[in-house]
Amino acid sequence: MSAGVPGMKPVRHVRKRDGRLVEFDESRIADAIYKAALSVGGEDRFLAEELASVVTLFLEKQFPRRPPSIEDIQDMVEKVLMETGHVATAKAYILYREERARQREAARRPAAPAQRSLFERGPIGVIDAVRERAFPFDRETLRRELERAERLPEEEAERVAEAVADRVYALGRRTITTGLIDRLIDAELVNRGLVGALERRVRGSVDRRAVESSLFPKGPHRHGPPEERLAGGILRQFALEEIYPEEVAAAHLAGRIHLDGLEKPAAVLAAAFSPDALRIGGIPGRTGRFRPEAVGTPRRLAGWLGRAVRALAPHVVSGVALCRWNILAAPVLSGLSYDELREEAWHLLTELAEVRGGEIELALSPPPILAARMVREADGTVGEKTYARFTGTSLQLARALLEVRGTGPGLGPRSSLPRLTLALGPEALEEAAAAAVVERALTEALDREPVLLVLDREALPLVGTAAVRIRLEDAARLTDTARLAAVVGARAVVNLRRAALRAGPGNRGGFLEEVAAAGELALRGIEARRAFLVRAAAGPDGPLAPLARRRGGSPPLLDLARATHSLGVTGLNEAVEIAGGEELHESDRALKLGLQALGVLTGACEACRARGIPVDADAVEEASIERRFARLDEEAHPGLAEGRRGRGSPGVALREGAPVDLAVRLEMEGRLALPLRTTTVRCLVGEEERPAAGSLLALLRKMWTNTRIRQVLVGRRERR
């Protein structure tokens, strides 16, 4: 033990990793240095002891008031070795230290409760719902935070942190919220008479740190204006702490699942409406219906629809779609010249610009159930002609919208415009006029931005947004085109890759069990959110009440009783690779494992449906969710997830560069798509292999007959 230097307080204690204080022992430092030196050919025990005493000297200097932690000491050993020129020994020491860290990690993982818990690396987990993160409780971090944010002097901060930590450990809980820690700090400040510090902490009634982090954002929530971020943080905290069960919220924070739209807890995930639903039923919160004669021309429909969609957008998390716009608007706009139709298209795009998740769905022919139906006239009454008689105008409208969106002047950045989706029936691929519109859409997709094509296989219309597509199963609802509307209430997404990582490499059975467990958590989340949405729609003052009310004789726009919900899945390819050793395209065995995992989830959805909650499984391809999962996977499984960074295949897709030809890819993805309601097969081509639109059309025809693919995204592959 070092005698220390006169005038300096000797180091007496060391803080262990689990928070305990133990006696400082310099010979252990000398041992570690000597072992590292031996491994690179050194054998001077005396030198190791000399270096250890230098380390002690520096520790005394740097930690005059508090005991150093193990990590502090190891940092110091590295520093001393480097600065005294023992580079080889330093390197050996660093490697040894990393190896030990890995061993500790490995030793912790098999312990069943720890592995099952949210906090795979710490004894007590802190849940910070405002910032949507979770981390292990650490007294040292708390002390630094008290010094920084509360401006406490170092010793004071040390004492408060010590006392708060004692209380936290004494609670005997596995997790603790930042809110409870805050109250413990407040109490400690009162006990110690630190009223000034307490006053600073509670100035105003809003969490000062939340305001600060909304103004100077870091991490994943740095987009949007500060007021939205601040509100988003508070609402997220409310959602995680009040709406969802504790385990579900913990699974979200750990990245096993993802709960959508926490910033907008009272909003539904997605909604789709026919133009007639808005035209006839009116816009909630506004009086009156669309009356073309009031403005003397039918050409104000775009303005009306735009206003309606903007009114709805705040109540929807990810997408508001106008479905079958060209089919249902054709009777109103019939008789206009092509140039006038282009003008109408321009107005509609301008009206819907900047609406987040806005989408316009076009169809190339009315689905059979609509074709024979009598149209809604411009004034809203049911006329004498059928929709089938307006096919010419509806095709011209589709063509005009595609053309204007691609090349129209004065529309601003294309990313701010609503997406276009094209629904195709088999006739659209055969009839020349419709096929010409499809070719135009495909050319746009290759020239500008991808287009989503929906292969409309059901006789009933499929409505929805790119995020989630809804099959209207109840034909009775289609007695009136004004009733053509659908809502997806809640969604929770299962991180399949994490399920595989938790089970461990090569553990197929364990993987499927983990998928089932994560699916169960996600479904519990969906049920909880659904209950909250019902509450939000009830009563006269609920935030969703105006939208959930009947509008005169028309059904409500958000009919939660009929809403479906979505269990999302993503990362299947990497999950199968971890659990089965092969990627999806590499063997039938791998494909089978993938289908088994999807089967586990669709089975859980069925059980949920039997309980009266309609949930469907969907593939989720949103990049933001994939990024969040990737970050959290890397944190939870640093070694295993590392090699797989940047290789994530979204949804249930094969890896982008998988060495299979187009036909095999489409057949495989078609098989994987089968158990799911919505999944998008991506058909992206490189610049140098740009096909003719006619070739893509031929491919679509083959997809129709040879696969069960329902949705395909056609576009240009971005250059790497």
Partner: protein, 246 residues
């Protein structure tokens, strides 16, 4: 049956036969030495290009039969390869249309294939105007007479055909392309292929295609539908069958 060595295969391609999903079979051997050759390893009949067993190729075609709508045979110069007829006969057993991409230097073999119904369409790559410039583009002496004969046979016969030119900026000018278009005056299709990064941009190519289109029945830019004036009512999109309100 003796068939030529197969040097490569693309199981499903969207680019080699515009408008169709095609399988592409590469047979080696080419008398030309074009400086821009995209597949120089297929030029000689040497073994370095490797060989894919014939039965493996036929097996692949069989497995893709639900997807593939045609087979493209490419060289080199497929018509110069001994045993091509036998290979074409085997391909015909799949009841798929066959297209041969050729530089057009062996008109007799081409006519033989077309007459026997083994080849459904021929795509002739015209690399440059049929003058000294062609010899430069082909990297050596070429029998231009044979090439003239090929164009003559296709333009005067009833067989389906296509002429193609890859537009390399350092080899061809706009005038060169118009000169080629005049040589193949009346051709059913003339396709200009843009070479990303090595030729004029798409806008310039569109202009050239419009000018060349005066001499041939249709001039396409590879990967694009023929040009249409903006703002006009697109052809094929009729009015509502008398039901309009106007």
């Amino acid at each position: 049956m003796r068939t030529p060595a197969i040097r490569g295969i693309i199981e499903t391609s969207l680019t080699h036969w515009p408008g169709r999903i095609a399988a592409v079979v590469f047979v080696g051997g080419c008398p030309l030495h074009c400086p821009h050759c995209p597949a120089p390893h297929l030029r000689g009949a040497s073994e370095e290009a490797g060989e894919i067993p014939r039965d493996a190729v036929l097996d692949t075609l069989y497995r893709r039969r639900r997807w593939v709508e045609g087979v493209v045979v490419k060289g080199g110069e497929p018509f110069a390869v001994p045993g091509l007829r036998e290979l074409l006969e085997l391909l015909k057993d799949f009841s798929l249309p066959v297209r041969v991409d050729t530089p057009g230097l062996h008109p007799e073999a081409m006519v033989d294939g077309l007459r026997r119904g083994l080849v459904d369409t021929v795509a002739v790559e015209i690399k440059a105007p049929l003058t000294e410039a062609y010899r430069k583009a082909a990297g050596g002496d070429v029998d231009l007479g044979a090439l003239f004969a090929t164009t003559e046979i296709l333009l005067s016969g009833g067989w389906d055909h296509e002429f193609r030119t890859a537009v390399y900026g350092d080899l061809l000018t706009e005038e060169d392309i118009l000169s080629i278009a005049r040589t193949i005056r009346g051709a059913r299709r003339y396709v200009l292929r843009s070479v990303p990064g090595r030729g004029p941009g798409r806008a310039a190519l569109r202009r050239i295609a419009r000018r060349a289109g005066r001499y041939v029945r249709a001039c396409h830019l590879d990967g694009l539908a023929p040009e249409r004036e903006a703002g006009t009512v697109p052809c094929g999109l009729g009015r509502d069958g008398g039901a309009g309100r106007g």
